[in-house]
Symmetry: C2
Subunit: 139 residues, 2 copies
DNA sequence: GTAACTGCAAAATATTTGCATCCTT
DNA sequence: AAGGATGCAAATATTTTGCAGTTAC
């Protein structure tokens, strides 16, 4: 269940400001991940780059969004689901990057398979990053 | 089976130069991934940053090394195994980043489980990035 | 009113490009 | 000798920091 914008900010003890509302709204509208540049250009209003950096950082710290490991090491962010909280993410879901359109999906309903590691390794978090062609780009 | 340094360069039609030899040797000596900064400081000789950027890019293009998706989106590289070739990587192995010591391992012998995707998605490459504690840091 | 947030300027980093020189073949 | 690789300088791009003015509560 998704919370409203103001509600989400309040729940995280953040004051409700224009940039935070606009940026959070953009994430909620977007079915996928966003890079800094996407936010800079798609948020309607033009915010200062610095404000965007700081807003993203705040959202990550509060567990509202999380960074996504990408095959090309570009920095992208996506909304966390509600079981995420500050400092403790449950991001064991699958990220899919379409080679054709560049969209990054968070496939929340795909089960992350358990990986058997060699002795002595303990697991905190498992990220799966899949590249390929998405349902909108397949011929 | 690993090839020798000069052999690997020759096989990829690259001229054998000091920086390439030193950097490739560093990768072969290292049981894990390297960031640009690691190479700058650990290669014995100090190379120009630009040379390192260009050497890494060349190695990636030739399929000698590959970039690793990391949870913190820092750019890291690791040796490809010999089934890799220019433009075509077989990187479906598991990468493990230790939260304690920061070392990135390529766990080549760990099987990447098949992930079942929703209809319409086709897979080109699967990367698994696991964070946790490595065998040297576990108490 | 006060603490927190934003925007501007600027510093610090990271990456890319152009070109003359040097090295490999 | 010729083409490619390197190193330096400089152009770009990215991210961080400081601070004064503004806004949320």
């Amino acid at each position: 269940m998704l919370y409203g914008i103001a509600e989400t900010l309040k729940k995280n003890q953040l004051s409700i400001t224009d940039s935070r509302k606009k940026i959070l709204e953009l994430f909620m509208r977007t079915n996928g991940a966003l890079a800094h540049a996407d936010i800079e250009h798609q948020s309607g209003t033009e915010f200062d780059r610095v404000t965007i950096y700081r807003t993203l950082q705040t959202f990550v710290e509060k567990g509202i969004i999380h960074t996504i490991p990408t095959a090309d090491n570009s920095v992208r962010y996506a909304l966390c689901k509600d079981q995420c909280s500050a400092g403790k993410h449950h991001d064991d879901h699958v990220h899919f990057m379409c080679d054709a359109c560049g969209t990054t999906y968070c496939l929340d309903h795909v089960v992350v398979p358990a990986v058997v590691l060699p002795k002595g390794f303990t697991v905190t978090q498992t990220d799966v990053v899949i590249s390929g062609t998405c349902k909108n780009c397949v011929q």
